[in-house]
């Protein structure tokens, strides 16, 4: 479901095709393999994640989950947590070029990147839909989300279930820049990635800075607390 392209020192990971780019074991493995390739590349200096078509991603593949909910919810959550942790542990700067709707765990994936650029084309929105559908968000995911958003924005996004277009997302500080169309968004993201690549940062230090700047995120993602699908928490 994804392609990996190298332009100079910048890697571009694209969710290909016109579909919803939902996450299931096949796509999880593809993304994980791509990240491994990037990490092992000696001269990689920045990563851009983007999408083709109308959707960045709509999150977890609920059809796949629905085929066997008793264990697949847990497996799905564990794989999501591993994916977020892998992005947070990457040793190079990451830029998300959001060129379509990003919902639920895909919104969280965008937040796991260092920078976010977003396109207004097709009224793309960011939407944390869990509350509207009565699902829990695991505490580890919320720690990641909380670490990247202003407090009031966090409340509007998680407790308010707000759908944010690129302009709103920019005003609330969720994305760093908004652009008219997908082509422009990707272009700008790659340019930003090249600017970051030129800084020549030590990769080990960059990784440790990111982990220290957003403490507890990776620690909690790695613990894999069993997911409670039902909406009631028992603390």
């Amino acid at each position: 479901m994804c392609s990996l392209e190298k332009r100079g020192n910048v890697y571009i990971l694209t969710f290909v095709g016109d579909g919803e780019h939902r996450f299931n074991p096949t796509t999880f493995d593809a993304i994980s393999d791509a990240l491994k390739e990037v990490e092992e590349s000696a001269d990689a200096a920045a990563l851009v994640t983007t999408n083709a078509g109308k959707y960045f991603s709509c999150g977890l593949d609920m059809k796949w989950v629905g085929e066997s909910p008793h264990d697949r919810f847990d497996i799905g959550m564990e794989k999501l947590e591993n994916m977020f942790a892998a992005f947070m542990k990457l040793s190079i700067p990451t830029v998300a070029a959001i060129c379509g709707h990003a919902e639920a765990s895909a919104f969280t994936l965008a937040l796991a990147h260092d920078y976010r650029f977003m396109s207004t084309q097709g009224s793309s929105h960011l939407y944390m839909c869990e509350l509207d559908h009565g699902f829990n968000i695991p505490k580890s995911m919320l720690t990641l989300i909380r670490s990247k958003l202003h407090p009031a924005t966090l409340r509007d996004v998680v407790l308010g279930g707000t759908k944010l277009n690129a302009q709103m997302a920019f005003q609330k500080g969720i994305v760093d820049a908004a652009f008219d169309d997908s082509v422009g968004t990707l272009q700008a993201a790659v340019k930003e990635a090249e600017k970051l690549a030129v800084r020549g940062w030590n990769r080990e230090i960059y990784r440790s800075f990111r982990l220290a700047a957003f403490p507890d995120v990776v620690e909690e993602l790695d613990i894999h607390v069993p997911y409670r699908m039902l909406a009631s928490y028992n603390f």
Partner: protein
């Protein structure tokens, strides 16, 4: 039932919602004051009322006074929150009569025996804040007066804050009165405020007007005057109440969002607080 007709003739109005019992009525207080008897010694006034308006509850700090938190007020608020939690209501609005939302904890009462009363009252107050943060419905504070110290913290424990723009301050007074707030209250502020505002609020003790509070992200919406503020808060509460959200989902999300602050409040409440940690001048 106390005879109220003579007081009605004097223009003092009672509504069923605010009349709780003989002993707790404020007509009793007015009557006794006129007789020259100190009402504090004879009856306890319920300082807050809880009214049901369709799908939402309205908790109001009553009458013209500073609405300071005492052990009694804390206990009254806790039982109101229990009522809200166990009902089928879908949102809570809090507001105030008069010039003060709340001016914080009752310092006069605490100073009479600081070493015992300070940790006790702060613990009961944090118990209130803890239950506000764990409530299973959206909460809006319609701040129609000064919110200082504990009043400020109580307002911050809501999901949304609506405030009048013409009057009233938001003010965390702790640094000015040499009180070291316990970790639960600090965590609450850190989790709700941007880093710079957190520093300004806690370490600088800034008094924010409604307009300044809006700019700093303390206030979500500003309105002219208390009537509009409360009206709009009730309107928004009804909008939130009509959303198809499940209350356990809403509660679980808020508890996970603010898990650090809620955990620290819970520790403070369970383990109790110590005067020597909080009062550095004693």
């Amino acid at each position: 039932m106390l005879r109220t007709s003579h007081l009605s003739r004097k223009g003092i109005v009672f509504s069923q919602a605010t009349f709780h019992s003989n002993k707790n009525s404020h007509c009793c207080r007015a009557y006794l004051q006129r007789q020259g008897v100190s009402w504090e010694k004879t009856c306890k006034t319920k300082m807050c009322s809880l009214e049901r308006h369709g799908k939402i509850f309205l908790l109001k700090f009553m009458e013209e006074n500073e609405h300071r938190f005492t052990p009694e007020l804390c206990s009254d608020i806790l039982s109101a929150l229990k009522t809200v939690e166990q009902s089928d209501a879908r949102a809570l609005v809090t507001t105030n009569d008069g010039k003060f939302y709340s001016n914080g904890l009752d310092l006069e009462w605490m100073k009479e025996d600081a070493a015992t009363r300070f940790p006790l009252l702060l613990r009961e107050f944090e118990r209130v804040v803890y239950h506000m943060m764990k409530l299973n419905v959206p909460t809006i504070a319609a701040v129609c007066g000064h919110a200082a110290g504990g009043g400020f913290l109580f307002a911050m424990a809501h999901d949304y804050r609506y405030m009048r723009s013409d009057r009233g301050f938001l003010y965390n007074s702790a640094v000015d009165i040499n009180v070291v707030l316990p970790s639960g209250s600090i965590a609450l502020q850190r989790t709700k405020l941007s880093p710079q505002v957190f520093r300004d609020v806690v370490l600088k003790g800034i008094k924010y007007t409604g307009v300044e509070g809006f700019g700093a992200g303390l206030v979500d919406s500003l309105f002219e005057g208390p009537t509009q503020t409360l009206e709009q808060a009730m309107r928004e509460a009804n909008v939130l109440a009509d959303k198809p959200w499940e209350k356990p989902a809403y509660q679980g999300l808020r508890m996970a969002m603010y898990s650090d602050a809620i955990h620290k409040l819970e520790l403070d409440v369970d383990q109790g607080l110590h005067a020597e940690d909080m009062l550095k001048e004693i």
